[in-house]
């Protein structure tokens, strides 16, 4: 009996130890949550570092992506190591889903990589929980090269927790080859309204006899936010979801109308490829003539569809009323608050962001560089599609407004939730307004739970 009891206590001890470990692993930064300046302070173990110190230092760089990105990033690492021989960079890469699972586990285990590729959806979740380092206190990183609006989208609660790597904008991508085959040409896309857009999309479906559909739906947090801003609303404010249910409902209604009229594929056809990768999408397979997408993906779609494409502006109901648009960081770089070498990590980010040698290697694989000097540096090597994306971003200047609030802590599942509720609407198991309210409630609860 005694031994059984001892075993039981031993088991309890292990459990308690683990629970404590969970606490300890995140405690390096727990005291600093909420206060941004304190969050920047490195943990006591981290020695003060002078930039490019002579002693050998190893830092870890992690990113998500496909094989092309892995190869180019490895080349950048090689170039960086050649320039700073005392710094060794260990890469860690995988696909999008695996990336966030791994990063969360590593961070929970106190084993976070030093330099982290970050996304807007997760930025506040990591920064708000003290997992990131305030970049403004890293002297080796030059933050002045970026446009302040864009840089502002890397801040959370007053701290600069991420630096945008690339900038992208929301656009309609048109397969002009398909239009040519159908004998159609684009209307004036500078001033077109949503009604004109739907009519044109419908004319494509009709002209093709239904084998090609005019357009896909727009369905992500970015486009919802633009829709809201164009209608005098905004998705987030004050760190919570504040968009009106009517605004979300009208956004859902748009897709429902298209689906019913035939401008867009049926709910079933759309759902079939809704989760497919870019290469498998209906646009890539020539079954859609237009899609809503980030302008910087145009080149990839053009290649996948093996067709000529054109980027055009998204419609507005009142062309000049609002400065609703903004450039969205495609992805960011962050430094982990668990790093022991913030200055070396800063050097690496600085190299990737601001060194023409790195820009020449990376090209536009991560999108159009956020640093305008880098865009100039690689101008000569841009493909036509990439030049289009750059020109498109410039053409938006007249409608660019202030930066939005970034996705709050706890709302990182907003895109998947939005897709789910849109499908409910399209399959008519829910009405736009009911789905809109449920969507807002779900996101709100997530944000609340994360406080």
């Amino acid at each position: 009996m005694k031994s059984a009891l001892t075993r039981r206590w031993a088991a309890l001890g292990v459990a308690a130890g683990l629970a404590l470990s969970l606490a300890a692993c995140s405690s390096a930064d727990s005291g600093s949550t909420g206060s941004s300046s304190a969050a920047a302070a490195p943990s006591s173990a981290a020695a003060p570092v002078t930039s490019s110190a002579a002693e050998p230092v190893t830092i870890t760089l992690t990113w998500w992506g496909g094989d092309a990105r892995h190869e180019r990033t490895q080349q950048v690492i090689d170039a960086f190591e050649a320039k700073y021989p005392n710094i060794t960079v260990e890469p860690e890469y995988t696909d999008w889903n695996g990336y966030w699972d791994r990063l969360a586990t590593e961070t929970a285990g106190g084993n976070s990589p030093d330099v982290i590729q970050m996304d807007m959806m997760y930025l506040a979740s990591y920064a708000g929980r003290g997992a990131l380092y305030d970049l403004s206190s890293v002297s080796s990183l030059d933050l002045t090269t970026l446009d302040s609006t864009l840089l502002g989208m890397g801040t959370y609660d007053g701290g600069q927790y991420a630096i945008p790597m690339s900038a992208t904008s929301w656009a309609i991508l048109v397969n002009t080859d398909l239009l040519g085959q159908l004998g159609l040409s684009l209307p004036d896309t500078e001033t077109w309204t949503w009604d004109e857009f739907e009519d044109f999309a419908l004319s494509i479906t009709t002209a093709s006899g239904g084998t090609v559909h005019g357009t896909g739906p727009q369905i992500n947090a970015y486009s919802l936010d633009l829709w809201a801003r164009a209608h005098g609303d905004a998705t987030f404010s004050g760190g919570d979801i504040t968009i009106k249910p009517e605004t979300v409902a009208s956004y859902f209604q748009l897709a429902l109308d298209w689906s019913k009229s035939g401008a867009m594929p049926t709910a079933e056809q759309y759902a079939e490829t809704a989760t497919a990768a870019l290469d498998q999408s209906d646009f890539a397979l020539g079954k859609l003539a237009m899609i809503f997408t980030q302008s910087t993906q145009g080149a990839a779609y053009a290649q996948a569809a093996n067709a000529n494409v054109q980027l055009v502006k998204i419609p507005t109901d009142d062309a000049n009323s609002t400065k609703y648009a903004y450039l969205k960081p495609g992805m960011y770089w962050s430094i982990s608050s668990q790093t022991k070498h913030p200055e070396e990590a800063g050097l690496l980010i600085n190299f990737i962001e601001n060194d023409p040698a790195a820009a020449a290697i990376l090209g536009t694989e991560r999108g159009i560089p956020a640093n305008p000097a880098m865009v100039d540096a690689i101008q000569g090597s841009l493909t036509d599609a990439e030049k289009q994306a750059v020109a498109y971003a410039e053409s938006l200047a007249s409608v660019i407004g202030p930066a939005p609030e970034i996705t709050p802590n706890g709302a990182s599942a907003i895109d998947t939730a939005l897709t789910r509720y849109l499908q409910d609407v399209l399959f008519e198991t829910s009405t736009p307004l009911v789905a809109a309210q449920a969507f807002i409630d779900e996101i709100h609860q997530g944000i609340e739970a994360a406080q």
């Binding site: 969970l22 949550t33 966030w100 929980r129 709910a267 079933e268 079939e272």
Partner: protein
Amino acid sequence: MSLMELQALARDRKKAGPRAKEATPDNKAALVFLAPWLIGVAVLTVGPLAASLVLAFTNYNLLQPPKFTGLANFARLLSDTRLHHSLEVTFTYVVIGVPSALAVALLLALLLDKGMRGLAIYRSIFYLPSLLGSSVAIAVLWRLVFGGQGLFNSFLGLIGIDTQKSWIANPSTALGTIILLHVWTFGSSMVIFLAGLRQIPREFYEAAATDGATTWRQFRSITLPLLTPIIFFNLVLGIINAFSAFTQAFVVSNGTGGPSDSTLFYTLYLYQEGFGSYRMGYASALAWLLVVIIGAFTAINFWASRFWVHYED
């Protein structure tokens, strides 16, 4: 000592009287044989299991220390409509998928067990789907087969049913395609059945044949009873695995459980909560609810096994 001598010895013992019961339990020997498992349990299993149980009472976002929240997570279990929906999906999958896959596996194992030409090849071919497992290629292929323009509809067209229905994208049939995917990987259960069939001593059949028993009678009175431990194993594990089904739904729906949550399996929802939304405390509560559900089914299974599973010991 050869096996044959042993068996002879065993037969003598049996004739001599009822089986001798040892008075002493085998505690020491058990400790030796279980040593690796015990170390594993102590070091790798008990701690994380207990930790997850503790976390079920906390708000734990992976990045900050867990905060004790009492029964809040369990209260949410009651009102969480997505959870209730995922339970519905998972139960449907268990109730339809497990018996179908087992029936197919058992039938083919029985057919293959009776000698036939080329059976080594059949056996290997039947196992191929299980090899592909969670391959991304399967996700792509499933769409090509069960999509609106898919192969399945072409096949239906051949037999006179003309449809453009996208089986994989319609919320009412999407789950069915994943059940089919499960049945399609019947190879693992089939292999276990085959191995079990091979363990049935051949002399039983010889004796039965000498007595003039029909094939059906041999199946009823020899094959089936002697295979029950393996049928039981496949049933228990089939149910446990079906409740924990994750990979197939994850791959086919790219982790969303779509369309419209129609393939939102329990563990997929748990994963979305834990790793998608960083609510690991709630995910832990979900995990323990799952343990209770699976545990109940398994306990019922073990209880019922007394009435139909035949052990040699």
